[in-house]
């Protein structure tokens, strides 16, 4: 079964109009996300598993070729940064 990513407690993902990008907020800190990081994390809702996230992104960016490896690598990286849990 594929894993379901969730934001760790204390991490909040939101769109910031003033910065014109998605950001990840955590205790006394903030990461500005680039377009692809923002698009991937925007799919993290605690329900969709990794396969569903890849499928959804594939649908949003049909021209982009196979997104699977990049999305998986990014999510693993995000887990290592302790932004999300993969369970």
């Amino acid at each position: 079964m594929s894993q379901i990513p969730r934001f760790r407690r204390g991490f909040r993902f939101q769109w910031e109009p003033a910065q014109d990008c998605y950001v990840l907020l955590y205790p006394e800190g903030m990461v500005k996300l680039n377009g692809s990081a923002g698009a991937i994390l925007n799919e993290v809702d605690g329900r969709q598993d990794v396969d569903a996230i890849v499928a959804s992104l594939q649908q949003q960016f049909p021209e982009a070729g196979d997104l699977g490896p990049d999305v998986r690598a990014f999510l693993e990286d995000a887990e290592q940064q302790h932004w999300i849990d993969l369970s």
Binding site: R12, E16, P17, V23, L25, Y26, P27, E28, G29, M30
Partner: protein, 385 residues
């Protein structure tokens, strides 16, 4: 969208970006007496605190301008009875809200109520890893026990947990114990912040500043702990802020003057950093001007933007875009002129002041009894004169 388009009514002469961090110092009142407190020496002189409505207006304006991180601090913010209301408003506006507290005045019920109001994070500060030293530094007999209980309550309520320890020569030997304590409490982040010498800490510098040998040992211990945590797969992060007095280049203070950080003091004075009040500069008040004018157009906030103001050696230095000449408060406290290069810099003609402080730290004998504690009585001494 360019910044200029976003600000049709603003002159914004230095093309400054928005304040992304807002620090709301709700009050200077505090039950503790930490001798390194960053509040102004004459805090007891401060007039009336802003009302609830005035704070809410500050929060709204800040958020509209783009602030995303919000800190409630002080003093001890818990003494404000309207805190739950301010938290709820902040959350509604979309801030990530941080409560920076000593833990005194906190109860389990308040911890839970704040979570319901939408508080994202509570940072509890400690003075040491054991009750005797903690309470001696805090100037309060029951502080440690209360802090422990509240750290546990914060954890139990599911908040991310940040524990903060201000480090100085009297507790720097406790690094391994401090880190152990934090791991037992289940902290996510541990801030080991050596004193920055402004405000009360500057008055007490000789009695607070660790020696180079103490610092080296502490760094080695922190690195060893970090390796241990990683090997055990622990997610606890250690953030060790070393004193810039042992550097040869200054820190890029606040990421640049009036660049990201906006502090509002209890009486509504707006500042580019929480210690800037000590500078001989007129800072605007949120009671008189709206936040946008304050941030983009006021002389106080534009004073040290850009680098036109710099004298030598910064003016012709190729590192000036990296560190902005360092900290204005430090320049002022150590050289008498806030325009000067931060004397931490080895190119500063006043660097000798830093070297002298290092030498003094090697031979310092001052104990806790020699510290000037931060309380109303001592504060009055600083403005009676």
């Amino acid at each position: 969208m360019t910044r200029a388009d976003a600000l049709p009514t603003s002159l914004n002469p230095n093309n400054a970006g928005p304040p992304l961090w807002l620090l709301a110092e709700l009050t200077y009142r505090c039950p503790l007496q930490c001798p390194y407190c960053s509040n102004p020496l004459d805090f007891a002189q401060t007039e009336q605190e802003l009302t609830t409505e005035q704070w809410i207006s500050v929060l709204r304006q800040g958020r509209e301008m783009g602030a995303a991180q919000l800190g409630f601090s002080g003093g001890e913010p818990l003494v404000r009875q309207d805190l739950p209301e301010l938290i709820a408003e902040a959350r509604k506006l979309g801030y990530y809200t941080n409560l920076i507290t000593s833990g005194l005045g906190l109860t389990e019920a308040r911890v839970v109520a704040f979570a319901e109001a939408g508080l994202d994070h509570i940072q509890v500060s400690f003075q040491a890893s054991d009750p005797e030293l903690n309470n001696a530094v805090a100037g309060s007999r029951k502080a440690f026990e209360q802090k422990l209980a509240m750290a546990k309550a914060v954890k139990a309520a599911g908040y991310p947990m940040v524990l903060n320890f201000v480090i100085h020569r009297h507790n720097i030997h406790q690094m391994p114990d401090i880190i152990d304590l934090c791991e037992r409490l289940g902290a996510d982040y541990v801030e080991l912040a050596t004193c920055q010498y402004y405000g009360w800490a500057f008055e007490n510098r000789e009695a607070l500043m660790p020696s180079k040998a103490q610092l080296d040992q502490a760094e080695a211990e922190v690195n060893a702990s970090r390796a241990g945590l990683q090997a055990r797969g622990s997610a606890m992060k250690l953030i060790f802020v070393t004193p810039d007095y042992y550097e040869e280049r200054p820190k890029a203070c606040m990421n640049g003057w009036g660049n990201l950080f906006l502090t509002v003091a209890p009486d509504g004075t707006a500042l580019p950093c929480h210690s800037a009040r000590l500078l001989p500069i007129d800072f605007p008040n949120v009671k008189d001007l709206d936040l946008r004018e304050i941030w983009y157009d006021s002389p106080g906030f534009n004073h040290y933007r850009g680098n036109e103001w710099m004298p030598e050696p910064c003016r012709s230095c190729d590192e000036k875009d990296k560190d902005f000449g360092g900290c204005r408060c430090q320049a002022y406290l150590l050289t008498g002129n806030a325009d000067n290069a931060d004397p931490v810099c080895s190119k500063s003609p006043h660097h000798e002041r830093i070297l002298a402080a290092r030498r003094a730290a090697d031979h310092a004998t001052a104990g806790l009894q020699d510290l000037v504690y931060r309380n109303v009585r001592n504060s009055r001494l600083f403005f009676r004169g």
